[in-house]
């Protein structure tokens, strides 16, 4: 019971950020789950410790919200994989989140390092 709560909390904690990172990653084109996870890890130079599994609830949530769409395709190695792709709504959402993120970072920075 406790374990589950803790796990859920972590997703909740990351929710906004993780969703934004996924959307940002998909801006370069369709990608499967592993690819997205890899991109986030390498993009952050492995600083962000995302529990790999937490990617999937986030992906399905975004899909249900209509921000991304999924389809099964073949990889370069001829393997079946589910690819996610940004929708128009997803692009708008990314833009909105990005500006909000900038405001947030700016605000924090002003407090932490007052000029």
């Amino acid at each position: 019971m406790l374990k589950k709560e803790r796990y859920k909390n972590r997703i909740d904690l990351l929710q906004g950020t993780l969703d934004m990172l996924i959307l940002r990653t998909l801006q370069w084109g369709p990608q499967h789950g592993h690819g997205i996870g890899l991109a986030i890890r390498s993009g952050s130079e492995d600083l962000l410790l995302v529990e790999h599994g937490s990617l999937y609830p986030a992906l399905h949530r975004l899909e249900k919200q209509g921000l991304i769409r999924s389809e099964w395709k073949m990889t370069e190695n001829k393997q079946r994989a589910k690819y996610y792709r940004l929708t128009a709504a997803g692009k708008n959402q990314l833009a909105a989140e990005r500006s909000r993120w900038r405001q947030f970072v700016g605000a924090i920075a002003r407090i932490m390092d007052p000029a």
Binding site: Y7, I11, G33, H34, H52, G53, P57, Q79
Partner: protein
Amino acid sequence: MSWFRRFFRRAKAGAELDEEIRFYLDQETKLRIERGESPEHARQAALRAFGNVTLVKETTCQMWGWTFVEDFVRDLRLSLRLLVRSPLFTAVAVLSLALGIGANTAIFSLADAVIFRELPVRDPKRLCQVRSVHQRGFELVHSYPLYEDIRDRNQVFSSTACTGAFAILESIAIILSNGSQGPLQARVTVVSGSYFSTLGIEAVVGRTFTPDDDQAVGAAPVAVVSYRFWKQALGAEPAVMNTSLLHNGVRYQILGVAPPSFTGISSQHDPDIWFPMMMSQSVLSGESMFKARGSSSLYVFGRLKPGVTPADASADMARVYGDLQKLYRNYNGQRGEAVPMAKGVQALRERFERPLLVLLGVVGLLLLIASTNLAALLLARAVARRHEIAVRLSLGASTFRLLRQFLTESLLIALLGAVAGLLLSSWGAALLVGMVTTSAHRLPIHFTMDMRILAFTAGISILALLLFGLVPALQANRPGTASLARAHTHSRLPAARLLIAGQMALSLFLMIAAGLFIRTLVNLRHLDTGFARENVLVLMLDPRPAYGQQREKYLGLYGNLIGRARELPGVRSASFSNHTFFGGGDSRRTITYEGHITQAPRDERPNLLTITPGFPETFGLSLIAGRTFHDRDDRTAPKVALISESVAKRAFPGENPVGKRFCFSDSFQPQCAIEIVGVVGDVRYNNLRRVSPYALYVPVQQDPVMRGDLHVRTWADPAGMAAQLEEMIRRYEPGVRVLHTVTLERLVEDSIIQDRLLALVATFFAVLALVLSALGLYGITSYGVHRRTSEIGVRMALGASAQNVQWMILREVLVLVAAGGAGGIAAALAVSEVVRSLLFGLTPTDPLIIAAATFALILIALLAGYLPARNACRVDPIQALRYE
């Protein structure tokens, strides 16, 4: 709907998610191997980094919002499996619930038909019935002149109507356009021309009466028939206007058919045919009711004018009666009143209302017992499943999920119970109606499984579900995970024990009730009625088809019937009279005794029986003074009469009544005088509960009647003579119809049908309740023994004897019984006033019955407790200690 399809696509989605995650793990493993990790290590690391795969899947699925339904289906499957795995538990649970729900639905549908349902007429709440209130109770039937007075003098009714307070069985022939059909039996009554329009009833075929059909005496021979009569006797003939009915030599044209739901304004009489009031002289064989203020046989009712309340109507009726009292002496000591008639005529409903409400209470208690019993069983099961619950909680199940699982199981039981109960109820309701249907009366109760009854069943099922499902579920979930995991804890199950004690209380309560009702029935059956009821056969006759409308023609009939009957072997004596004790009918006339200035008060008017001389012998009446009649008391002889003992004491206190005289009129005159020649003992008449003291007997030769009963006292079983006697009448009096043949004992028995019903039903439920609570007690005790196996083992290893152990177990049972018993007796005492009026010859606190019921409860409880206790002392200490 799309959600439905999506729900079934869930399986596919689940497989896709599996594949997606598998792909991820494969990719990650591959990546790690490329980085130089060993294959096994890479796989492990990939899994570790991913987290709890199952939980990820579950959380992902939740994103789609379908888990609730999925969980429900899973719970349902699990519950079904659990129920199938313990068939005995399931059978007991479903059956006890089905009995509870079934009994409630059956009684409710009966009560619904008799008490709660409103008349199927337009705006029934605006109807009011007129009744006369005397110092000693009230009266609902009125004379025709009184109806006219109320109709003409009232200021509150937009329309008034009257109907005969009876539906008499008559012989009717049907005349179709292409020939006629032989006579059949139908119940007929007379109504005013305004009857249907006041009620607001439209015919389904043809038309109903208008005031024009009821203008002049004998002018309009027309009829309206009931829907059932139209279907069954007329074959649902659409051209009903071309059909006529032949009754007492008069041809009536059928005007129309009443709607199927309408069966008259009384739940007791359901006429097949309505005739106009103005035809009543032909319908009722010459007894004119248009002028006689003393002959009351009509219900009078009206529809309130807009804005008028029943209270206004009552005030207006009081005014009308006040005016009438100035004009006629008939209404002295009476007050007029208007009572709402939305549910039909009141007195008849009141007859069944009390017993039905008591029954409703009884079955409610039964359902309570079934539910609490079930709760106790489920509770015991829940505790037995502690390990499972503890494991599930520590594996991460939420309390809410577990609660839902428990409730799903209860829901399944409730559903099965409700369905089985509904099936039981339709059978039970028919059985109940069968029990209250007497040889002469049928109850026109129409059962329909309508929405009201289904809603009632659903309601009580949900109530039961909440009771037996929620308590155990909450109880089982209450203790923390840690304490649950400790299987050692001795569970005394306080909630379950409380439930069992409550059941014991309810069982005792019901047993006391059953005891009281049985004793009442026995008292009533052994009552001295004042006449000998054994070995008498009663044939109710209608000679009118053969003898017509002139009374004088009937004089030879009585002697002929009696003479022919006496010739049959096995007949001791025979007689004829206008009414039979407990035959249902009675006649009363205005009467003035010699030496009295005024007529006898209304409620002291004697019941008039016109009899043949053999009557006192056939009925075994005791002669107290004077003589009975003989054959010489005929038309030419001086008029004579017998009176009952109470009449003698009331009219001629301290004097010898023999030789005294009286008149059937409102003053005494020598020219109408009838001489009293004898005094006979009082009898109970139509009602076993009270003596009907005032009775008067006159010879049928001096006061001929056109209808009556032939009574035959036999040497052996009277029922066996029925066919012979009917054959005799067919042969020697071919035109005389036998309406009904019944033994006198049956007639008396039919009068206490309510008491019999109460005793039967209360006994049935008391036994059922006792069995159920004994089962519950057995269950909880053997469960306790099971839980305490190791404790018992330790005790026995330390030297406790088998008796010690048994006593330890039985002591707990006795505590429960004592608590329950005290509660049951307290409850019985608390409601004693409610049942007092239903009892006869004993008080509701009869100590013998309470003691006997308590004894029975203790006996059964000890038996239920002894079996587990015996098992307890057979525990092998070594085994018991290993058991943990």
